[in-house]
């Protein structure tokens, strides 16, 4: 079965598209509560997206067609990679051997165009953000391969759906493996989704931003595409993380789905807590932090390899 097309597969896709702004709303609400504010309503991200579609689009005078193309490519790539993620036992629309590689590289394509879109303006701010994004992405990529990749190597499956379904939590070795993998996956998520302690999405100073400074000169529909794709990206990584612990998905779909939702909620709480408690790292120390996450992955895999022998 090369590419599996099914009606059921639409469910994860629509779930990701529909719920991802709510996930961000949940994180923001909990952050507000943790800092003693009331905060914006849960639905605020939806309103923000809607507002952006009604705004006029302004391009910098220095911008070429790359600025017009970049948001579309970034959004399309994230959208197509979201077609490969399963939720619970539901098989996604795109599922074939080796889709974990396609998934990682599609996100890479999105990043490449986001960098080009930023550099197209010719402003130092965007240049700085793009350089940081590029640097950190280089060190984030290995983490992906050490978490999901190692699961693929160990389980012998190369499709995300099959990998998640080969996870068994009854064996203590694999339980330890999964727990440690999910820690480095959490590091990856914070990096890729430009959250604290890597990037501060709410800062007011351009010099300290990464993701936000890259899209300074985007507005209207382009900004809509960038924002929405960043929401979807958070959702993708949240699913990626939450699906690690889903022992019931095969036996009991509804129980599995409930566990999955609970895991998502716990994850939002964890993100909100981390973002409230930890200050942003110095830019210089971020590669060290990412290498640390990679080292956890290597260590984990070594333990697994030797225990299995």
């Amino acid at each position: 079965m090369d590419i599996f097309l099914n009606i059921q597969g639409l469910f994860p896709f629509l779930f990701i598209l529909g719920i991802s702004p709510l996930l961000v709303g949940l994180i923001n609400k909990q952050k507000a509560l943790l800092t003693g504010r009331i905060g914006a309503p849960l639905w605020q991200p939806y309103f923000d997206l809607l507002r952006l579609t009604r705004k006029e689009t302004i391009y910098a005078v220095t911008a070429s067609f790359v600025s017009r193309l970049a948001p579309v490519v970034a959004f399309a790539a994230v959208l197509i990679s979201s077609l490969m993620l399963p939720i619970g036992y539901v098989k996604p629309i795109l599922s074939f051997n080796g889709d974990i590689i396609v998934f990682a590289y599609l996100l890479g394509l999105a990043r490449f165009f986001q960098i080009l879109g930023a550099m197209d303006i010719g402003s130092s701010f965007e240049g700085m953000g793009a350089a940081r994004e590029a640097t950190f992405a280089v060190f984030a990529e290995p983490i992906y391969f050490f978490t999901l990749g190692s699961l693929a190597f160990i389980s012998g499956h190369t499709s995300i759906y099959d990998i998640y379904h080969s996870i068994r939590l009854d064996n203590p070795t694999s339980l330890v493996f999964i727990i440690v993998s999910s820690i480095s996956a959490f590091f990856l998520m914070m990096t890729e989704c430009s959250r604290m302690p890597i990037d501060d999405p709410n800062t007011h100073l351009e010099l300290t931003m990464i993701h936000e400074v890259m899209i300074l000169d985007n507005s209207g529909i382009d900004l809509f595409l960038y924002q929405y794709s960043s929401f979807i990206k958070i959702m993708i990584y949240a699913i990626y993380e939450a699906s690690f612990f889903n022992p019931f998905s095969m036996q009991n779909p509804w129980l599995g789905f409930s566990v999955f939702i609970v895991m998502l909620l716990l994850l939002t709480a964890l993100i909100a807590w981390v973002e409230t408690m930890i200050a942003r790292f110095k830019m210089k120390s971020i590669p060290q932090y990412l290498l640390f996450a990679t080292a956890i992955g290597i260590l984990n895999l070594l333990i697994y390899t030797f225990v299995r022998q």
Partner: protein, 658 residues
């Protein structure tokens, strides 16, 4: 059908005659390049036919009683590389017309065009030669022609230096090939390639033959630590020659390496494991060095080193497969290597040729002083953008398809081979992902500095791109799309090569891997369709609201100038610094020492680690050593004759002793 091949050789000879007799530079440029293109096109017709239909017989050139039969043979592997070289001949000679037309008034084009013709003749002979002597003769001829091609702007010091390093490296490499062939001859008592296969070699001989072959061919292909000539020679050659050197000539090294592997079948663990290690290091080192450069063509040369590393990873997977008799792994490794070879040919030709057009626009190669070409030449910029996406190995274009095969090889190796393979294969996969990430930075640096932003210096004129250049570049960009959207075509060719090379392993099911590569193509098509549809929808939607332009955000500061843009060195600075001493980047900072404003300067220089730290000191040491024998060189003929007589007497004495 063989007539086409004969026509190929005849037309190349005719091209040389035209070069010799032509008086007008204008006619010479078009006629000679046209003939080379026609010759290689004829050859390509032959190759295509021969590849898909029963292979043509061996052409015997010359039979010698003691040396054996000097002949040309056409198996599928040879034909694959022959086709690649012929495609290279067509594109580079058509582009060459446009590139050299800038020099028609100022310098003689004869040596360069003649070198192109000889280069293509010799490269074609290399991949079909069936005799060690013919192979070595063509190999030497290729080095010589390459040298003549590189020294086009011969008055420049960097050209003299780069071409010399190329020539020296080529000859050191050839020396190891002589040793390899001598060993093969000693083992098989034959000089013919067909006799080298299916031989029972001694295990110790296999190791020596392989490593001699690896040094000889690896020197040409550019594996670490023999890569040092690429970043010196490729930037200084005229761009169509750089494209040939990088996209085609390096592949003769890969061809040779595949031949050595199929002859000797190295069976111990050490060889494939160390090849995997060397190839991985080559890839990481190559692309990391590319990041540190400012010279556009030097960056591209380092990126070639990276791609050779990726091809080498495929070859080492093939060797693991051969060792463990895992046909699928062998196939994935070979197909990954061959497909990446073809892909690298397409996008590296595109990028090197574009670099030539950029060089003619700016008259220098420093990317820090470029910028903003995307607005003045959107079509050209779009073509280079396509090449950049492809070379980063990003979907939906062709670079991704071949890297995907190599990743599949990693998975297959860890699935089918036990022991610690999962761990090592995963580490290799992570290394490949890391290389991909670095490539994204390198090529976003090139795109940003050359095409995006605003011009760092006011442009003197618009980008002038001749129709020859435009045709070639568009054809290559189209090829990038075709190979990316229909990767199963090339994988089918690789399968034919595989079945021809390893006829014993019939009856295998590829369906899973070929099916998977088809889905990669389908995804690529889907990505392009989705992007196109969304682009249309977005433009419509934005037009319904209002669209306008304004100055970029400068934090309230409104007097932004082009010099305030982020420079390429700053863009890659973080990553380059992490590498530390391994990149051999020198910062030369002069700060003012007094409080009042004074002149200050900042320079960075990224010289090659191996060349700068090892090869050049070694060369200096040899020169120093040779100084000691300088007294022998008196310049007096009588003394030299005396030396000869002494030597002769010594020989005679030794002969009688024995």
């Amino acid at each position: 059908m063989i007539e086409f091949f004969v026509a190929d050789c005849m037309l190349l000879a005719l091209a040389i005659i035209v070069i010799a007799v032509s008086r007008s530079q204008f006619v010479l440029n078009r006629a000679a390049h046209g003939l080379i293109a026609a010759a290689t096109a004829c050859g390509l017709a032959f190759t295509t036919r021969a590849f898909f239909f029963p292979t043509p017989p061996v052409i015997v050139l010359f039979a010698h009683p003691s040396l054996g039969t000097i002949s040309l043979s056409f198996d599928k592997l040879s034909l694959f590389f022959l086709g690649l070289i012929q495609c290279g001949g067509i594109v580079s000679s058509i582009y060459g017309i446009g590139y050299l037309s800038h020099y028609e008034q100022t310098r003689s084009l004869k040596p360069t065009i003649a070198a192109t013709a000889v280069l293509f003749l010799s490269m074609q002979v290399i991949v079909i030669a069936n005799h060690a002597l013919l192979f070595l003769a063509a190999w030497e001829l290729m080095a010589l022609a390459g040298y003549v091609g590189i020294v086009f702007e011969r008055e420049k010091e960097e050209v003299q230096r780069g071409s010399f390093i190329f020539f020296a490296a080529a000859h050191v490499g050839t020396l190891f090939l002589y040793l390899m062939f001598l060993l093969l001859h000693q083992q098989t008592n034959s000089w013919e390639f067909s006799a080298f296969t299916h031989q029972a070699y001694l295990p110790s001989a296999i190791t020596t033959i392989f490593w001699f072959g690896f040094i000889g061919f690896g020197m040409k292909a550019g594996f670490m630590p023999f890569h040092f000539w690429l970043p010196e020679a490729h930037p200084v050659a005229p761009s169509h020659i750089s494209a040939v050197l990088s996209a085609v000539m390096l592949k003769t090294g890969i061809y040779g390496l595949i031949r050595v592997i199929t002859w000797t079948h190295p069976i111990d663990y050490f060889i494939p494991a160390s090849l995997l290690f060397i190839a991985g290091t080559t890839a990481i080192f190559g692309i990391w060095n590319a990041l540190a450069q400012k010279d556009l063509k030097r960056m591209l040369a380092y990126s070639s080193i990276e791609n050779i590393g990726i091809i080498g990873i495929g070859l080492s997977l093939m060797m693991f497969g051969l060792q463990h008799q895992q046909p699928l792994l062998t196939f994935l490794g070979l197909a990954g290597a061959l497909f990446h070879t073809a892909n690298h040919f397409v996008f590296k030709s595109l990028l090197f040729m574009s670099a030539g057009t950029i060089y003619h626009h700016y008259h220098h190669r420093n990317i820090e002083l470029m910028g903003g070409l995307m607005k003045s030449a959107p079509l050209f910029g779009g073509i280079v953008l396509i090449g950049s996406i492809a070379i980063c190995g990003l979907p939906p274009l062709n670079g991704f398809a071949s890297e995907f095969l190599i990743y599949s090889g990693f998975f297959e190796a860890s699935r089918s081979l036990s022991l610690y393979f999962p761990f090592f294969m995963l580490t290799s996969a992570v290394a490949l992902a890391f290389v991909g990430g670095l490539a994204v930075v390198a090529f976003s640096k090139i795109m940003s500095m050359v095409f995006l932003g605003s011009p760092k210096r006011p442009p003197e004129h618009d980008v002038h791109i001749t129709k020859y250049e435009l045709v070639t570049l568009s054809a290559l960009a189209l090829a990038v799309f075709v190979l990316g959207l229909f990767p199963q075509i090339v994988v089918g060719w690789c399968e034919a090569v595989y079945r021809d090379l390893f006829p014993l392993s019939q009856g295998l099911s590829w369906s899973s891997s070929v099916g998977t590569i088809t889905s990669v193509g389908t995804i690529a098509v889907a990505v392009i369709i989705v992007i196109a549809l969304m682009m249309i929808a977005k433009t419509r939607l934005a037009a319904r609201r209002s669209v306008r332009t304004s100055v970029p955000w400068g934090c309230g500061y409104t007097a932004l100038t082009a010099r305030m843009q982020y420079s390429g060195t700053s863009f890659s600075d973080d990553i380059v610094n992490i590498a530390g001493k391994a990149l051999n980047v020198h910062h030369d900072i002069h700060l003012p020492e007094i409080p009042l404003p004074a002149t200050s300067s900042f320079r960075t220089n990224a010289a090659d680690l191996v060349l700068n730290r090892f090869v050049e000191p070694a060369g200096a040491f040899v020169s120093w050593l040779v100084e000691w024998f300088k007294w022998l060189q008196s310049g007096k003929i009588q003394v030299y004759v005396t030396f000869s007589i002494i030597a002769l007497l010594l020989y005679l004495f030794l002969a009688f002793q024995i």
